[in-house]
């Protein structure tokens, strides 16, 4: 069996700086990126041997490159960052599949493309059945929140109720606004149930008149 290359960890050389961060590692003819790819390959070989410093440096150096790859396919910055993290996790999980005698670029790019496509598919699935919440969908539990039109309707109604005769005002407040039953309202006011019914009926009629007149004037 050919176990020779496995044992050979290249010596840690050429590890000075990280110039030209945002271009592809496999651009042929580019000495800087060629050297950088070799550098990454060496760092990965050390990481496989358990060198945490080399590993940390490798991940920090490839992140901007992965971000630029992800940004070509994703517009949302949160998606780009999530994709970069997916790629880093995959690299961590299958780091033993890298063979340091082969170029690092193709290995990295294949993993990156898989994770980028995975997230695109997930987004596609989400978009096909979910709608993002917009400001109009925002609701809050308290009474005075939400839609402005309802607020003005509410004020108009309260003003109209104020203009009702006292008995009608009381009936409409207890039965409609506080939503009491007829019996409860009768106990609270000392009026009979029939008198309450009549007062409510009259109150609703006069409110209808007042409010329709109000909207007619506008």
């Amino acid at each position: 069996m050919t176990s020779g290359p496995r044992k050979r960890v290249p010596p840690l050389t050429l590890v000075k700086g990280s110039s030209g961060r945002d271009d592809a590692p496999c651009d042929s003819g580019d000495n800087a990126s060629g050297g950088r790819e070799l550098n990454w390959s060496i760092l990965m070989a050390h990481a496989q041997a358990g060198d945490a410093g080399a590993y940390r440096r490798l991940l920090a150096e490839i992140s901007p490159y992965l971000r630029s790859l992800a940004a070509r396919r994703h517009r949302d910055p949160a998606d780009v960052e999530d994709t970069v993290q997916d790629i880093l996790l995959t690299i961590h999980a299958i780091r033993y599949t890298y063979d340091p005698t082969r170029p690092f670029g193709p290995w990295l790019v294949t993993i990156a493309q898989r994770r980028i496509i995975d997230r695109l598919r997930r987004r596609g699935r989400l978009h096909s059945r979910e709608e993002p919440l917009t400001a109009e969908h925002e609701t809050l539990p308290t009474d005075q929140t939400n839609i402005v039109d309802e607020m003005s309707d509410r004020r108009e109604l309260h003003e109209a109720v104020e203009h009702l005769p006292a008995s009608q005002r009381q009936a409409i407040r207890l039965l409609k606004l506080k939503e009491m039953s007829l019996k409860e309202a009768a106990e609270a006011t000392g009026m009979s149930v029939t008198a309450l019914k009549v007062a409510t009926h009259r109150a609703v009629n006069s409110l209808r008149k007042m409010l329709s007149r109000g909207s007619g004037e506008q």
């Binding site: 050919t2 176990s3 920090a60 996790l89 999980a93 599949t97 993993i111 898989r114």
Partner: protein, 223 residues
């Protein structure tokens, strides 16, 4: 939410030394050796078919078994190559030529042996033994391949499963044609094409799920 620099710190802190994979050809050879061992053990246990000498003189049989063996070997190599991220995905076409040979030779046999179809020619006992061969060959081979290629779950599960299933199917078909004299063409077709179709089909449907059982996960201990 974890930021990327935090994640990098976390991963570096959890770094353990790993053993690199052996070269793909060596690993394919290991798996093929296992397959050969299983077929040999079954040959000892069940015995070769009685008319093996006659069969080996028929060019149709030799072509069929040879095609299946070659398909198995090349599909295994393809599966191991495809499982690595830095290898071309074109490795998937490697087993195509012997696969064509195998399938066409089954068709040829089918034509020449058409007259020998005999109703009731295969007894229940023979069918049961065929089924035993099928399970005893394919099950350990599938499990071994699944474990050996578990890291491919994160990369190209579909094509790896396809190539791997083809390899298992081809080797199972070889075992079946060596051990069981299923002369009826219907049986030959059913066993050869049926097993191939069955494994590739099952692999395509359940491969991803099976991979997810054994797939490596990032070992993060968020303390």
């Amino acid at each position: 939410m974890t930021t990327t620099p935090d994640l990098i710190e976390l991963l570096a802190a959890n770094l353990t030394p790993v053993r690199r994979l052996r070269p793909p050809m060596a690993r394919a050879a290991t798996w093929l050796a296992l397959a050969a061992a299983i077929v040999a053990l079954l040959a000892i246990a069940q015995g070769l078919r009685p008319d093996i000498a006659t069969c080996l003189r028929q060019s149709g049989f030799v072509m069929s078994v040879g095609g299946a063996v070659l398909t198995g070997v090349l599909a295994t190599i393809a599966a191991f190559m495809l499982s690595l991220p830095d290898r071309s995905r074109l490795w998937i076409v490697l087993p195509a030529p012997p696969l064509a040979l195998w399938l066409s030779s089954i068709g040829y046999q089918c034509l020449t042996n058409w007259v020998s179809v005999q109703p009731g020619g295969i007894t229940l006992g023979e069918t049961a033994r065929c089924f035993a061969t099928l399970v005893l060959t394919s099950l350990p081979l599938s499990l071994a391949l699944l474990l050996m290629l578990r890291y491919a779950a994160a990369l190209r599960p579909t094509s790896v499963v396809f190539a791997g299933s083809l390899a298992v199917a081809a080797i199972t078909a070889v075992a079946l044609s060596l051990f069981h004299g299923a002369d009826a063409t219907a049986m030959i077709l059913m066993w050869n094409l049926g097993t191939a179709g069955l494994f590739v089909g099952l692999g395509s449907i359940f491969g991803k799920t099976m991979f997810s059982w054994v797939a490596p996960r990032p070992d993060l201990h968020r303390a």
